[in-house]
């Protein structure tokens, strides 16, 4: 016979186990979403599963090459044309996937009094950092933005986004844009191959995941005549981007925040 106290204890434990078990199961399904798994892999006990072969896309921006022509806007034009990014002509409501910012703003708070003359004014290309720990994806209440496990791209679902702009608030890099009004009348030449967006949703650079799927490099990389943008797989030690990072001094934006950006700046 068990007494009342023991019974209550056991019942409490059982209830707790049931609740935590369900949570764990839910968390597991959530983390697997969008990540196909082979039947063989899934059949193994959890602890025996091998890490999946996966890519991690990243980009190195070679500032020496980029700054040879400070007025160049080729990467921006190519990207914005490719993705039907509107030109609203209004900085308050601006939509931008890749843009240039004076070095002192791109690397805000990193400068000092005696740095190289004129460094702070040099136009530095900025885009989504495709962080390993993206603050934007963490705060999104609808999973409309998330980090794709198989290649590290921070993705965006314009059809699910409710326009709460929490991701914009959470992003430390200003990489996200909101459609403050209908963007379609402001697209110079609509490209039928890529969707346009509606008002009230957030958008940003997706490393041209649609081009990568076709084996093409991102539009900005292709457009850069100076070859200043180097794109590749960071998990491949032999990739050009990894070699560049190994042999050059490089920076990422706001490393202290723990977001682990995947866009690197090769310092001059």
């Amino acid at each position: 016979m068990i007494n009342r106290k023991e019974f209550l204890k056991a019942a409490g434990c059982a209830a707790l186990a049931a609740v935590t078990g369900r949570w764990a199961a839910a968390a597991e399904t959530a983390s697997k979403a969008g990540r196909p798994q082979s039947a063989e892999e899934a059949a193994r006990p959890r602890h025996e599963r091998r890490p999946r072969a996966s890519r991690q896309w990243g980009m190195a921006v070679d500032l020496r090459k980029c700054w040879k022509d400070e007025g160049c806007r080729d990467c921006i034009a190519a990207c914005h044309q490719e993705h039907n990014v509107p030109d609203l002509g209004n900085p308050k409501e601006e939509v931008k996937w890749i843009w240039k910012e004076p070095f002192e703003h791109a690397f805000h708070g990193e400068g000092h009094d005696f740095e190289k003359a004129g460094l702070g004014d040099l136009p530095t290309p900025l885009l989504c950092n495709h962080c390993e720990k993206p603050a934007c994806a963490k705060v999104c209440p609808t999973k409309a933005t998330w980090r794709r496990e198989e290649d590290g791209i921070v993705m965006m679902d314009w059809h699910r986004c409710i326009g709460c702009r929490y991701c914009i608030v959470a992003c430390p890099y200003g990489s996200r844009s909101f459609n403050w009004r209908d963007p379609r009348p402001f697209i110079k030449k609509v490209r039928a191959e890529f969707p346009t967006r509606t008002r009230g949703v957030v958008e940003k650079c997706t490393f041209c995941e649609e081009r990568l799927a076709q084996g093409k490099p991102p539009a900005c990389v292709e457009a850069c005549k100076a070859k200043a943008l180097v794109f590749g797989d960071l998990s491949d030690e032999g990739s050009e981007v990894r070699k560049l990072l190994k042999s050059n001094f490089s920076l990422v934006r706001k490393p202290g925040l723990g977001t682990r950006p995947k866009v690197y700046y090769l310092a001059p």
Binding site: E93, E104, P141, I162, F178, D182
Partner: protein
């Protein structure tokens, strides 16, 4: 019971019609925003949240403050609050409905709002805030309805409601804590990245809520035969005093940490608030008024003589309300964005349609509150003759 809200004299109906008119103007402005987009507001890529979210934050505090009458009455059996507890609960219900409305008008795609429920995401603080706020709304609506029904029938409230009332006490704390977590967990925004944000939210809520309740009691006393009683009002004043002292203390803690540490990214936001930054001093006069009102409120409240005299108490309550509304409803949200993470001093000021939509939401909340109070007073037979 609801039909009692439809019986009233011409003054009552004039008030109702006035509120409805403001609701209508706000509603029309919202239709405009709904069709054109949030571009008609002062918001932009750098200041992504503004007046709407700030009002939401302020009103979550007003809602949470109902616990300041519920707790003494139900947990400590403080009988003097018997008459005003229901007023606090009605205020909470109206405030939460205003909160939800402010969230709704801030959405870029309001018709997709249910995506939050369809794709529940526990790592987002918005998910928890939705649960906290809706739960609190349900609790207070249920408690208010059950206790008032019992009162109308001349019987004590059923025993099963007691645990629900007790549950509403920690739940009240949770709504403002989770609302603070919306801000306080963002590495990108040093201004909000402070552990004292949730305690500070609660302190300012427990000062402003009772202050509003005191003012409401004074108004109701003039327009009906209801009298909260000087003991109850006096106790509310003491609660508001303590909470305001704690609130000011927390603000000073924030200032110490930011200024003494000397870290530019922490100081710059306070500079923007109190001294102006990069030539932009938009909020400076407002914040100075907020500080002056806080000092005035404390001076009047800490002195027992002025705290007990009705007209000085009403001035003190208005001062608390003004001081905290400026702090939370104007300064707190916007300053998180200025300077931007890229070190720019962005500009923001709400536009006319943005203000009209906000006024519309406030009018709708007041309309609800009026109806609730009318029902309560009618049930008690204390409406104006």
């Amino acid at each position: 019971m609801l039909e009692k809200a439809l019986l009233g004299g011409w003054k009552y109906w004039l008030w109702i019609l006035g509120l409805l008119a403001v609701c209508l103007i706000g509603g029309l402005c919202y239709l405009w925003q709904f069709n054109v987009g949030l571009g008609i507001t002062g918001l932009g890529r750098d200041v992504a949240w503004g007046f709407y979210i700030a009002q939401f934050t302020f009103l979550v505090g007003v809602a949470a403050s109902a616990v300041m009458v519920v707790l003494p009455y139900y947990l400590h059996d403080y009988k003097e609050f018997g008459k005003i507890t229901i007023l606090g609960e009605c205020l909470a219900v109206s405030a939460i409905i205003m909160c939800v409305s402010f969230i709704l008008v801030d959405m870029g795609q309001p018709l997709r709002l249910m995506n939050i429920m369809l794709h529940p995401t526990p790592n987002s603080m918005i998910f928890w805030d939705v649960i906290a706020l809706n739960g609190y709304l349900a609790l207070n609506a249920l408690i208010g309805y059950v206790t008032l029904s019992a009162e109308r029938n001349g019987v004590p409230p059923p025993a099963w409601i007691k645990p629900i009332i007790i549950l509403s006490i920690p739940w009240a704390v949770s709504i403002h804590t989770v609302t603070a977590f919306l801000y306080a967990g963002l590495a990108a925004r040093p201004f909000w990245l402070t552990a004292v944000l949730a305690p500070r939210f609660l302190a300012s809520a427990f000062a402003s809520g009772p202050a509003i309740l005191i003012l409401l009691c004074m108004v109701i006393k003039r327009v009906s035969r209801f009298d909260a009683g000087s003991v109850a009002v006096g106790k509310l004043a003491v609660i508001a005093t303590y909470a305001m002292v704690v609130n000011v203390f927390f603000v000073l803690m924030e200032l110490f940490t930011a200024i003494y540490s000397g870290m530019p990214e922490h100081i710059s936001h306070f500079q923007y608030l109190f001294a102006g930054l990069g030539g932009d001093a938009t909020l400076v006069p407002w914040m100075r008024v907020s500080v002056a009102l806080a000092v005035l409120a404390l001076a009047l409240l800490l002195n027992p003589g002025t705290r007990r005299r009705e007209w000085t108490l009403s001035v003190a309550c208005l001062a608390i309300f003004g001081s905290i509304w400026i702090d939370k409803g104007l300064g707190m949200v916007v300053t998180g964005f200025i300077p931007t993470p890229l070190g720019r001093v962005a500009k923001y000021w709400p536009t006319a349609p943005e203000l009209m939509i906000s006024l519309g939401v406030y009018a709708a909340g007041l309309l609800l509150l009026t109806a609730f109070y009318k029902i309560v007073l009618s049930v008690r037979g204390e409406t104006a003759a």
